[in-house]
Symmetry: C2
Subunit: 430 residues, 2 copies
């Protein structure tokens, strides 16, 4: 029978434990807080404030416009992109950092549809999964419409049947934002390929927490991918996002002289020629659009560095092992300590089938339970209509955090404290 | 005959002079630097570093994901937008801050085309001006193609003729990024309306420096507009951009239930319902897309506040008067002191016909002349093939700066120092 002391011992023996010191968690720790929402907003690396201050005061304040050259602003986006590439098993030059996940998804779905339709104009169906992140569904549907395609968001059970001869592009999230289910990227991508289609993946809830090997020699068989900078990459609220294309597709887009749907000046072959004619930048450069957001990119780089620091300790594979242990422990603790209070595990029980967060459905009062838990300094989030969601970012979440979070949840369920009317008051964002 | 002492006296008497103290120009001043590139990248407000530090350390670091509610992140974008609205003569709720100028231009050109084509499907021509900012031309052309329209970038002399019965949307920059020419927004918008078309304006080189009255009761007759956060608004490198729609168009988009081309989750009617069906947010909200970039928005707000501080001193109208005096003085000084060195004024001589920057064409060696000038701490920029561009942001540029800049330019032209081969070495960005 595991004890809290066992958790303390596990943390003491954890080779990844020193990585936690990278983060500005002193005040949270001093207040006894437990942060289980790194899958929504990653925590602040200690390095970020100083680096952004330097960019503001030195590079912008003193260097002024010259910093595009002298401070390397012009290549900052690609520097950060090449660091992210290491986290998702891609090569240098294969990743672009720009804009938001939504806008990048629009770009890559458009590119994938252009490639498929060039060879098979009759393929006019784009498929995603019904419980995929809604923002993704909106963007995918719009991109499909813009290419004269129909869009279908199907249930998991109908996914295999939907990968048929009509399919142009399959667009899925690697880890579902609600359930935490990890989709088998390689198998589904290969099924799409076998059907003559392409596969696009959103890594928002996996990049930095689940090993991904996108590039040449990788095993995911993905064609395009996008991902988020502010979840497990710790880039800060609303950080820039990234996108990736397989090198063979990037080369094909070159050969086809494909024009992206958002042909901004930073994606031009020679932006500072100020040519009135658009000529797409080589390879991935065409996926850039407007002037890069330097302050945000500097903060994102610090976040990405905080994950790359794990490379000396086994990298994302080691993070993944710890993540599986943390999520497994949480499931075990909640199920044993909160039994009889109407919580049902939504996340797959098999570690290989889930990402780094765990979701329970509440039979009643889910919103109030989460608010009560937050009042007890355990920060998870609620997703309508009934889901309690807990993220376990393995860079900074401790085994003892898992133990204590489950204990506090058990305590407020047992006491009925969550029924206090003040916990039922809805705020605008949950 | 004006003297340098007269310029010093003008600065001493300038009611706008105290506004300069808002900016972190101490090191530039100590080094005798003169910054004439605020039309490319506005200078750093003193308030910015502290505010961004607060957002990072307090709101993100300590407040964590809860800051979406408790620190007002969820409404930060609209707060900044409503401040920008005051600078462009628009009402609260009429402006949206998001993404980049390029992406916002894509959104509003798409909206304008949707409105025109709903009533007049036969109108299939989008017109801009040949020397408009190339990034705008690329985006406009792509949006036109996506709506089955042809695109024409015409010379100024052919503009009147191009506003004909085929025209769907006219898209122009209020101030040309090269020449500094100020386009007559009201007259051209009315001409477009008389022809049955709509007019979209890019305010990148005018917002914050040239009075604009977009909204109800305004006199610009514009239909849609976009603008840049990092030029005269001092929002920092790559700051978020803004867009505006006339309230009658926003209402029409509502009635038509128009779906934007980039339907992101933050533009949904109820983002936190996580509905799988996209329902556009009311009015302007649908122009939002992904998660807002909080660090960048905080910096942009400080920049916008630095311009709003002029409201106590006559506002943008007072800035405009000073701007006209500065640019006029620069033209006069360069033409008198640099005569015989092959510089030709490109910017309109009539103050009402130019924005806040001045461009001279160099008969030869333009790039080297600008590099030599920068070596003498006068920072302007070069635009291929032969243009020397100087911005006079009236919030922080002094009359004595204008005098000294022209003197230094005259000096290096007279000495021939600019012919030193080191000044001809091209950097990646100019």
């Amino acid at each position: 029978m595991l004890t809290r002391d066992d958790c303390v011992a596990r943390d003491a023996a954890d080779p990844l434990a020193p990585l936690r010191r990278q983060f500005a968690l002193d005040r949270l720790d001093a207040a006894g807080g437990i942060y289980l929402d790194g899958n929504s907003l990653g925590v602040l690396p200690r390095a970020t404030a100083g680096r952004v201050e330097q960019v503001i005061a030195e590079e912008w304040g003193s260097g002024l416009v010259g910093s595009w050259n002298t401070a390397g602003w012009i290549t900052l986006s690609s520097s950060v992109a090449n660091k992210i590439a290491r986290l998702v098993g891609a090569g240098a030059g294969e990743v672009v950092v720009a804009d938001s996940t939504s806008i990048n998804l629009h770009k890559v779905v458009s590119a994938a549809l252009a490639l498929v339709q060039a060879d098979a104009p009759g393929r006019r169906r784009v498929v995603s999964e019904r419980t995929n992140f809604p923002g993704d569904l909106y963007i995918i549907e719009a991109a499909a419409r813009a290419h004269g395609c129909e869009f279908a968001a199907v249930d998991d059970e109908r996914m295999a049947a939907a990968i048929d001869g009509r399919l142009a592009v399959l667009v899925l999230s690697h880890v579902n934002y609600r359930s935490g289910r990890l989709y088998p990227m390689a198998a589904l991508s290969r099924a799409a390929h076998a059907a003559g289609a392409l596969a696009v993946w959103d890594l928002a809830h996996s990049a930095g927490a689940v090993p991904v090997r996108l590039g040449e020699g990788g095993d995911e068989a993905a064609d395009f991918a996008v991902g988020c900078g502010y979840k497990y990459l710790n880039g800060g609220p609303g950080a820039p996002a990234f996108l990736w294309a397989h090198p063979r597709h990037a080369a094909r887009l070159d050969r086809d002289q494909w024009r992206p749907p958002l042909p901004g000046w930073f994606g031009h072959e020679a932006p500072f020629d100020f040519s009135p004619e658009y000529r797409p930048g080589r390879g991935m450069a065409r996926f850039l659009c407007g002037t890069p957001p330097i302050l945000s990119l500097a903060a994102l780089e610090c976040g990405v560095d905080s994950v790359l620091a794990a490379e000396a300790h086994g990298g994302v594979a080691a993070l993944r092992r710890k993540s599986a242990a943390l999520t497994g422990l949480f499931i075990e603790r909640v199920e044993s300590r909160c039994a009889g209070h109407g919580l049902t595990l939504v996340t797959p029980r098999e570690p290989a089938a889930r990402g780094s967060h765990v979701t329970f459905a509440a039979a009643s009062g889910g919103y109030a339970v989460m608010q009560a838990l937050i009042a007890h300094s355990v920060i998870g989030d609620f997703r309508a209509p009934d889901l309690l969601r807990f993220g376990f970012a393995p860079l900074y979440t401790r085994y003892v955090d898992v133990w204590d979070a489950a204990e506090r949840l058990a305590g407020l369920l047992a006491s009925g404290e969550w029924r206090d009317p003040r916990f039922a008051v809805r705020s605008t964002v949950t």
